[in-house]
């Protein structure tokens, strides 16, 4: 019997396929080309090197290399000739400045070391837009981008500034009789506007056109008409208790105003917690944070908004006869409920609208007026100037250009050949084109004269982002290349011999200082921000004008009937598309920044790419499939999409839970061709589909062309499978139910009775009481998933960028990641209800339940969870390291000694949180990563933090809780002979977080914020039952729903 037993190696054996036969005969499926080098006697015989010689050389070179390694290299130490007073080598110097690139605005502190800016931090003196988002954090790397232009170009050839400026002047002089167009992104600097006005005086035929690549021009038109200036009201989410948002991605990229801090402040769990209702098509970052999210098609926005307005109007005693377009019957009861909630909240609510549509904005503004929100969450006096683009001006300019009426086009800080439909064609009819740009981008390569402009860290600036705020920017480094900042170029064109610095100083002293006399020029420069918080009409630049709210209200409501007629005419398409901006790349102006490319989209968790998001139902209908390679790498199909007659080919398709059925979404900012080696040829350019600066379009056809697109996705599991990873509770339960029920701490049954995981463990307890004990609290209720912390961590800790392929291989190096989980329709309770009690093949059982738990819901709740090294006090990684490269400190930190690590990776395998990162390659030196890793060229290397080691191949690394900052703070305290004050320093992630989700401190200091948070009833440890006793703990997420 024993002899007749046959073992088969695989299913191929059983079916007796030709492949199996081949396997039986050959050990290797493919021939190993050994004949090529061994079988070729002729080649071997002719070789000059015999095998013995080879061994001799090998031995000799090994010995030589060994001996050479013993020799000390001579290291030079070169001091300054004359040391600047402000610099002490090894000690950072901070300068206040302002980031503004026409898209993002942030008052910042610039950290410089030995004269090099290496990090941006939020300026805590500012109260408006005080956070730094991912792009602002990453912008310091753009300074060291080696793709920046280094010399002015005339007709493609390098020339001197004198020559280039002379050419520009003669072109401007020669354009008399024709129009001159100066096209810029939004300008919020009053002094820059003054220079442009002076330029206009000199060249009366000059027109200044403001063009925002992502435009909100139609909204601005309303407020310009109402308020007399191109500005948006300031939205104060901290004064609202209910926000209803129609496709407004206000936590992502909306109108330049960063409301995340106020949003988080208003959402502190409690009686008056802000409730957030989002109605949208794509799963935006904002929508994923909502308490209630309703899926809508773009064509339904109008009808839904008008319907809601009519309900609110009747609820608040206003005329409510509007024409309501066709509306899904399921939506109406939901909208009724929202209307009821809005009316109940009265003046403590806020209605926001996304997109670029005058009619939608009119209804939102009217609803806010009807509810009386102008006294709280909508501030018409302290209005915001961060978006000023004017579509009509842009349209007129393009028309004039195409008609050949324009002599000179000068662009500054924009890239219309890439972003603006029809620009490339129109500009070919223009005599001379001048680009003021930092790189030879798509537009600059079409220009006759290219003037390289300085980075914001090399420039002066004075900004007026909102009515009661004025901020200054100052250079922190001399221009790296032969560049001049835009204002200085313009000044020289006007014939002014003043430098912009002097011009700005004079402007400040005549226009701003008289209004805020305590802020002299030097004090203002030191603080960076001049703010007026008084409620009276006290402005810096603009004159006070009188307007009355009742008058505004009447004028808004008057126009509603016409708008409702316009909205009712909107036709639904079979498919509708939404153009959105990713949290990292934004409008795409900083696309060549590898940190931003590597930052995964918080919702889709895909980096280095854009794609068409589609709902699961539509994917099935159109035959799109997602698949995984054997290593887990995620694949998708391609589609050809046609929007309004414009076709975009080979767009990867991604199935997105929460996407409204019948809609697709695509991010702009990708598909660059002339941006730089990191950005070129990534994704597709969605701007080509936008013909009228709109944010959505209802005329879409989608064609499945199959194929396989390889995504760089860093998260493949999407649900929590019923575990307590992100603990979540409804506000009602949080307020009324015993915390033990919604924040259950795991207990083990022992002979001593029931004990918590902390009390039952096999490790010895370390002494954490005598000195510091650093802990970190992460409030999952405040975290919006924006990713600023991830980029900040990259900067601070010299985390390498690994590129698309390695991210796909799950070798991303993020020390800090933000996990995103979707809710599933299946849960243990649901399974019990449906009777999933079967075993094996009979009836549905536990395996079926778990299989269904893996599938995200069609309309899921979304949670974000930042996960870094948890600094376990009983760390599983420490016990398995064979060389003791990772060990524990008395201060509650898990240390990692890179030079001791031999790369066994046992620690990563034993880490329950999967936060350890292995250097598979020498990312800083391997030519494979030349295009993506900024530290590979001499400029990009300047951004490295000199206080943190640059790790090499074969070494494990992980979050150190910014130990360099801890050590620095301790030393500063010792130098002063004082105790460390709570809040005097924090980690890079906590500092970048504008919502204050991350709190870091010493729990042995009983007065510290973090020690109070540790005792909070919402606090819990991740995977508590493992017994690792982490130094990081989380605060339960509270959803504001019953």
């Amino acid at each position: 019997m024993a002899n007749s037993k046959k073992y088969w190696q695989g299913f191929e054996d059983l079916v007796d396929s030709p492949l199996a036969k081949k396997f039986q005969q050959n050990e290797f499926a493919e021939d190993i080309p050994s004949d090529e080098f061994l079988g070729n006697n002729e080649a071997l015989g002719n070789s000059q090197t015999t095998r013995r010689d080879f061994l001799k050389y090998l031995g000799f070179s090994t010995a030589a290399a060994t001996l050479a390694a013993c020799e000390t290299p001579i290291v030079e130490s070169i001091p300054y000739v004359v040391k600047p007073d402000s610099i002490t080598p090894g000690v950072p110097t901070f300068y206040a400045s302002t980031f503004f690139d026409g898209y993002d605005y942030a008052p910042v502190l610039v950290k410089t070391r030995e004269g090099r800016p290496i990090k941006l931090e939020p300026n805590n003196l500012a109260t408006f837009n005080k956070g730094t988002n991912a792009r602002v954090q990453a912008s310091v790397l753009s300074l060291y981008d080696s793709e920046r232009l280094r010399e002015p170009l005339v007709d493609g050839a390098e020339t001197t500034w004198k020559d280039a400026l002379a050419k520009v002047k003669s072109a401007l002089d020669g354009a008399a009789g024709k129009e001159v167009i100066f096209m810029t992104a939004t300008v919020i600097s009053p002094s820059t506007k003054k220079i442009i006005a002076e330029l206009k005086e000199k060249y009366p035929n000059l027109t200044h056109v403001t063009y925002d690549a992502v435009s909100v021009s139609q909204k601005l038109d309303i407020y310009q008409n109402l308020l007399g200036e191109r500005a948006m009201p300031r939205y104060r989410l901290d004064k609202a208790e209910l926000v209803v948002s129609f496709a407004a991605d206000f936590l992502g990229d909306w109108n330049g105003q960063d409301v995340a801090a106020e949003y988080a402040a208003a959402r502190k769990p409690g009686k008056n917690m802000l409730r957030h209702v989002q109605l949208e098509s794509v799963m935006s970052l904002t929508g994923s944070n909502a308490d209630k999210r309703i899926k809508l098609k773009p064509s339904e926005y109008g009808a839904a908004l008008v319907y809601l307005t009519s309900k609110v109007a009747s609820g608040t005693g206003h005329a409510s006869a509007f024409e309501v377009g066709s509306l899904n019957d399921q939506l109406k009861p939901q909208l009724d409920e929202i209307a009821k909630e809005l009316v109940a909240k009265g003046g403590k609510s806020l209605v926001l609208v996304g997109g670029n549509d005058i009619h939608l904005e009119r209804f939102a503004a009217a609803m806010n007026m009807m509810l009386g929100n102008e006294s709280a969450a909508v501030d018409y006096t302290d209005r915001v100037y961060l978006r000023q683009g004017n579509d009509k001006e842009v349209e007129a300019a393009l028309k004039n250009m195409a008609a050949g009426n324009v002599g000179v086009v000068m662009t500054s800080g924009i890239n219309p050949a890439y972003t603006l439909h029809g620009y490339a064609e129109a500009v070919s009819k223009v005599g001379t084109t001048v680009s003021l740009t930092d790189r030879l981008d798509e537009s600059a390569s079409l220009s006759n004269i290219v003037l390289p402009t300085s980075h914001f860290l090399e420039s002066w600036g004075g900004f007026h982002p909102k009515r009661k705020t004025y901020t200054l920017a100052q250079p922190t480094i001399n221009p790296l290349f032969n560049t001049i900042q835009v204002e200085d170029i313009l000044l020289s064109l006007t014939g002014n011999t003043l430098s912009y610095k002097d011009y700005l100083k004079e402007f400040y002293q005549t226009m701003v200082e008289p209004k805020a006399p305590e802020n002299t020029w030097n004090i203002a420069l030191q603080n960076g921000v001049v703010e007026k918080e008084e409620t009276d009409l006290d402005y810096f630049i603009t004159e006070a004008e009188i307007f009355s709210i009742p008058d505004l209200k009447q004028r808004i409501i008057e126009a509603l009937v016409d708008s409702s007629t316009a909205l009712a005419k909107q036709k639904a398409g079979s498919y509708e598309i939404v153009f959105y901006q990713k949290i990292g790349i934004g409008s795409g102006n900083m696309a060549n920044n590898p940190w931003l490319q590597e930052l995964p989209d918080p919702v889709s968790r895909i980096s280095w790419d854009n794609y068409l998001t589609i709902s699961a139902a539509d994917a099935v209908a159109l035959g799109f499939e997602m698949s995984n390679d054997t290593n887990g790498g995620l694949n998708g199909n391609y589609a050809n999409i046609t929007v309004g007659g414009v076709k975009l080919e080979k767009v990867p398709v991604f199935v997105q839970p929460g996407q409204a059925i019948g809609t697709v979404g695509i991010a702009v900012g990708y598909g660059r061709t002339a941006c730089g080696k990191a950005a070129n040829n990534l994704g597709v350019n969605a701007y080509t589909l936008i013909s009228g600066l709109e944010h959505w379009n209802t005329d879409v056809t989608i064609e499945n062309i199959g194929g396989k697109h390889e995504y760089a996705s860093i998260q493949l599991g999407h649900t929590m499978m019923g575990r307590k990873i992100v603990n979540e509770v409804t506000l009602a339960d949080y307020m009324n139910v015993d915390p033990h029920d919604w924040n259950h701490h795991h207990e083990f049954a022992t002979y001593k009775g029931k004990l918590s995981a902390n009390e039952t463990n096999i490790w010895d307890d370390l002494d954490h009481e005598t000195l510091h004990m650093w802990n970190m609290s992460i409030d999952l209720n405040s975290c919006t998933g924006c990713g600023a912390c991830v980029v900040s961590c990259h900067l601070e800790n010299n985390v390498p960028v690994v590129g698309k392929e390695e991210v796909r291989n799950h070798r991303d190096m993020h020390w800090l990641r933000i996990d995103r989980y979707y809710s599933s329709d299946m849960s243990k309770a649901e399974a019990a209800k449906q009777g999933y009690s079967g075993v094996g093949l009979i009836g549905k059982g536990a395996t079926d339940m778990y299989a269904e738990m893996e599938i995200p819901s069609e309309s899921p709740d979304v949670v974000f969870q930042p996960v870094m090294c948890q600094h376990c006090n009983h760390a599983p990684c420490e016990t398995v390291c064979p060389v003791a490269a990772t060990s524990h400190s008395r201060e509650g930190l898990n240390h990692m000694a890179y030079n001791r690590c031999i790369g066994t990776r046992y620690c990563a395998n034993n880490c329950p949180y999967k936060v350890r990162r292995f250097n598979w390659f020498n990312y800083m030196g391997n030519s494979k990563f030349k295009d993506v890793n900024p530290a590979q060229d001499d400029y990009g290397r300047m951004v490295l933090n000199p206080d943190v080691n640059v790790r090499s191949r074969g070494v494990m690394e992980k979050c150190s809780m910014c130990i360099q900052r801890i050590q620095y703070a301790k030393l500063e305290a010792k130098k002063k002979g004082k105790k460390i004050e709570d809040g005097s320093f924090t980690t890079a992630c906590a500092q970048a977080c504008s919502t204050g989700a991350i709190t870091f401190g010493d729990v042995n200091n009983k007065k510290s914020e973090v020690s109070a948070l540790k005792e909070d009833e919402r606090a819990y440890h991740l995977l508590e039952e493992v017994g690792t006793q982490p130094s990081v703990f989380y605060q339960t997420k509270v959803r504001n729903r019953a």
């Binding site: 002490t88 400190s889 150190s960 301790k970």
Partner: protein, 441 residues
């Protein structure tokens, strides 16, 4: 160190002699002038001053701009009492502006000669103070009194080998060889007598070797001994790789710490000013050198034989500083638009990138003396690495050094530690000074 010591003694002795001679001559000369002057200008010696106090005051108040024998920012002052009356000098020194304002022609002339650069007024100096300074200007520098008595140039006692030892050894060796030959001859003779064949020395040796090889015990012990010997030396040789103790590179400027820190007693922190504030001690920038070397150009340096080392010219080494920063030695001013070149020093103490070391932590917070790690720098003409700079060396110190408990930062922590570990001796390792992450991140 003995070599350095001898060298230093030699210099100080020769300097001493040379100064003695010069001063004697100068005194005589001054006396002569005084005698002559008495006849013509009775007011010239209308003061009595204490040259020692004058020297102190001169160094404190005047030396930044004046020298006795040489024009600096202001005129040379060695002969000022010959040129001007004491009253005039007192008036000028106390408030030259007022003197000019009073219409004094001489005062105005001096002012104009030096391009209208006003001299600082010294209203705080008393008449006697000024007389002391004037006295000092007449007497000049007294010879430095060598401390600790007059050193005699005694050499280190050298243990020499007596002359007869070596020949004796040869003789003994020859006797031994002779005895050996005699022994073999004798043995062979005995063998011949017994009727056996005689054996050569070679045969004897090979027989001995065979016996040795056959003895397994001896072979094992021998192999083990050789093996351990080789391993021992290989281990220490390998452990020494990268340890650059005594590394003493040639620097671009022959800068001597012995002259600066040793003889002139300049505080380490004066030049390495960031050591108290920063992780790096900081190589002084060239402008710091110029704080002194504007005035000290090396022309006074004397060599071992007591001669001016550069024949009264400026030192070519100090000239390298001038070349770096662009100092015009004749005009005593920085050259405008000069393209400055940094001095490319060779770094002596090289820690690998994998370790974070902070000077401020040790100097300011820890109160560690520079010499603890850097050794007797004030005795080094050319700086060298004194310590191992290995991790074992760091750790050893962290185990032994007690923490400065007076620092307010530690309030409470020390009580905690004392209570927890029942010890009064709080060393660096007790507050976590041996944890990996404290230095490696």
């Amino acid at each position: 160190m003995p070599l350095n010591f001898k060298f230093a003694t030699l210099i100080s002795v020769t300097t001493h002699l040379r100064f003695m001679l010069r001063i004697q001559f100068k005194r005589f000369f001054t006396f002569l002038i005084l005698v002559l002057a008495l006849g013509f200008h009775t007011s010239a010696l209308a003061f009595e001053g204490d040259a020692a106090n004058g020297k102190k005051l001169f160094k404190a108040n005047c030396a930044a701009c004046h020298k006795l024998d040489k024009k600096l920012i202001g005129p040379a002052l060695g002969d000022m009492t010959e040129r001007r009356s004491a009253e005039w000098l007192v008036a000028w020194i106390r408030d030259n502006g007022a003197l000019r304002a009073s219409g004094d022609a001489d005062a105005q002339a001096v002012f104009d000669e030096y391009n209208g650069m006003p001299m600082t007024a010294f209203p705080a100096l008393s008449d006697q103070d000024i007389y002391d300074i004037l006295q000092y200007s007449i007497e000049g520098d007294a010879p430095a009194v060598p401390q600790g008595g007059t050193p005699t140039p005694t050499g280190e006692p050298v243990a020499t080998t007596p002359d007869y030892v070596l020949p004796m050894l040869f003789v003994l060796g020859a006797v031994f060889v002779l005895l050996l030959i005699l022994l073999i001859k004798m043995k062979n003779t005995l063998r011949v007598v017994q009727g056996k064949d005689a054996e050569s020395i070679g045969d004897e040796i090979s027989a001995f070797r065979k016996g040795l090889v056959a003895n397994k015990f001896l072979m094992t012990i021998g192999t083990l001994a050789v093996g351990i010997f080789v391993l021992y030396f290989a281990y220490w040789w390998l452990m020494g790789i990268g340890v650059e103790k005594d590394y003493q590179p040639v620097q671009p400027i022959a800068f001597s710490h012995k002259v600066h820190a040793g003889q002139n007693k300049i505080d380490c922190n004066y030049c390495h000013s960031s050591a108290r504030h920063s992780k790096t001690s900081g190589i002084p920038s060239t402008n710091v050198c110029m704080n002194c070397h504007k005035y000290v150009d090396g022309s006074e340096i004397v060599d071992e034989s007591g001669q001016l080392k550069y024949g009264g010219d400026r030192s070519p080494e100090i000239a390298k500083i001038y070349a770096a920063i662009g100092w015009d030695v004749d005009k005593l001013a920085y050259i405008e638009g000069y393209e400055q070149k940094a001095v490319q020093w060779v770094r002596v103490h090289n820690l690998p990138d994998l370790v974070y070391f902070n000077h401020a932590q040790h100097v300011t917070a820890g109160g560690v003396d520079c010499e603890t790690c850097h050794g007797p720098v004030s005795e080094m003409d050319v700086l060298k690495q004194y310590s191992d700079l290995t991790m074992g060396w760091c750790v050893e110190c962290h185990r032994e050094t007690e923490v400065n408990t007076d620092n307010g930062y530690y309030d409470g922590y020390h009580e905690n530690i004392k209570e927890k570990y029942h010890t009064d001796k709080i060393t660096v390792d007790k507050i976590g000074g041996l944890e990996c992450g404290k230095c490696h991140y």
